[in-house]
Subunit: 338 residues, 2 copies
């Protein structure tokens, strides 16, 4: 028999989907729900969040009114104290008072809000591959690149809640344009969309050069072009497949992106000396080549003493990390506040 | 009247000098002592530490036996739990059980040991320019480059006590040889000894080129050579002076070192989002040019949100930071353990 007073609902809000789950104190999922967002208008999204939470409660056989609290993980910068989403590129939001919008639809429920990497790190530490690890980095490489940081057993969110922006460390001054407005950020190379755009740029150059030389196919990237069909359809997954089949352009870019990621990681590990690094996310999981390159750079460039203290492994919770972490961080944080 | 039970003695052990001071709860120095190390043999250094502590007590008019505890700051890697100095390049030590050697000479005194950057950060936070700041970086650029890290109000020393090695982040893969055995570390450019060596290398090349062309003086670095006398005598201070008098070589290297430091700082600030950065140390204090270059890079490359939350200022305690921090960290840590 589950004690009702121990149950929290966790919500993971991405740019496309909202997930919700009822989570017990051990981080187990008792019931869950996932649906697509039909609108990105903040009030509609707040509706969708509460609806998903209620459906997850139904699936767990628990009334929504008996939840002790709700944790929300949002991919974006959340202002400390107010719960205002200052910036969430995936949702196209700026300064959206999201916590208030949700609170208006669930008036009595204690709420907690944090960013997606923080909840992933909290989830992995409580119930995943970071169990019992006090100094833990969780680095996810998907369309974005980010880090969840736990130091001394506590989530580190920074002075204004923007810690963990590993995607925006400078790896190449004056380099490729990043979505953030800067040039040469790690994410401009290793983030999924940017990696594919980088390959498309190189492919277009190769195509133009081939045509100028009277050839139909470029020498570099030919395999990638075959797999993708046309430059516009190149993805990170297509690059990995092409590299596996001998495509030099794809191999080079995946390894370069992995190298840049690995050096950024090595530098962070040298300074923070964590006990464990969980390395995952859609792009890295889809590209063993990029993963190998990144780990090789960590091995080569981290100080020996910091490398010796470090284990590198994969996150365990996968897509569940967000809902589990949001619920467990809500529990920890709301219990402290009570 | 000072309550005796509140007094701790702090010791700062460098490669050349040992300093000791009696510190009250507010971080005030009640009495102090500084003397040169006559030997680097661990037992003699332990003797010198206890002697300096006793002399500082005498200067404060307090018996050594009434100290509540002693804190030791050592420039090096100190093993967690054991107090063994695993590696202290300035002292030429490897795996020296230094805490034990000191304890044998002060059998009843509770001891605490930490590295020099940690004690500097602890001192600045307790009684210097980091007062009341929970997320604080203290970065000192002298012959070495290092960071003391306080996050969430707690000193962050890492899983194996080697956090803060900012001097050994990789800024130039395959670049200049660093004392640690790696190539391209920040310290290989910005550390005082390495910066001077870099200038000497470039000067020698310029000299050889000038002679091959039948000229007596090189075009680049002429002013630096005049000021230093010969390449072997170049120092960071001479470079700053020469740059001030128009020497292009000195200007370029100081700015390049500042740029590399600034990018490493920007990346760390982007990921950690601290509220304050204290930036100092002998080399930076002696080279406004390098300091300006570093801060310009921080301004240019830190994410906007992290830069907005950050104040940059100078450490306040200067040479006192070590003794004050060692005493206050000993107080905090021994009080917790009691």
């Amino acid at each position: 028999m589950v004690k009702r007073e121990e149950l929290y609902v966790g919500v993971d809000l991405g740019g496309t989907n909202v997930r919700a789950a009822v989570i017990d104190a051990a981080g187990h999922v008792l019931g869950q729900e996932k649906h697509r967002l039909l609108s990105r208008e903040p009030p509609q999204v707040a509706e969708a969040v509460v609806r998903a939470a209620k459906t997850a409660c139904g699936a767990a056989g628990m009334p929504f009114t008996e939840m002790k609290g709700m944790g929300l993980g949002v991919a974006g910068w959340i202002q400390k104290g107010t719960g205002v989403v200052m910036n969430a590129p995936n949702l196209g939001w700026r300064e959206v008072p999201f916590l208030k919008l949700v609170q208006a639809r669930a008036p009595k429920l204690p709420l907690w809000i944090g960013n997606d990497l923080s909840v992933a790190a909290g989830g992995e530490r409580a119930a995943g591959a970071g169990r019992g690890v006090d100094d833990l980095l969780v680095v996810l490489v998907g369309s974005g690149v980010g880090a969840g940081i736990i130091l001394g057993g506590k989530l580190h969110e920074g002075a204004s809640n923007v810690a963990g922006e590993l995607g925006h460390v400078m790896v190449h001054p004056g380099g490729r344009q990043c979505g953030c407005g800067q040039r040469g950020c790690l994410e401009a190379y290793a983030g999924g969309h940017n990696l594919a755009a980088w390959a498309r740029d190189d492919l277009r150059i190769a195509l133009a050069a081939a045509r100028a030389a009277g050839q139909r196919h470029p020498n570099v990237g030919r395999k990638l072009l075959e797999i993708a069909g046309e430059p516009e359809k190149v993805t990170a997954a297509a690059m990995e497949k092409a590299a596996h089949e001998g495509d030099e352009l794809s191999r080079r870019l995946l390894e370069e992106a992995g190298d840049l990621l690995g050096i950024a990681l090595a530098n962070l590990i040298t300074v923070l000396n964590p006990a464990r690094l969980l390395l995952g996310g859609g792009v890295l999981n889809g590209s063993p080549r990029m993963m190998r390159a990144a780990i090789a750079q960590v091995d080569a460039h981290t100080t020996k003493a910091a490398r010796l203290a470090l284990q590198i492994t994969a996150p365990e919770l996968g897509e569940q990390a967000g809902v589990v972490g949001a619920a467990l961080l809500a529990r920890a944080s709301l219990a402290l506040a009570a």
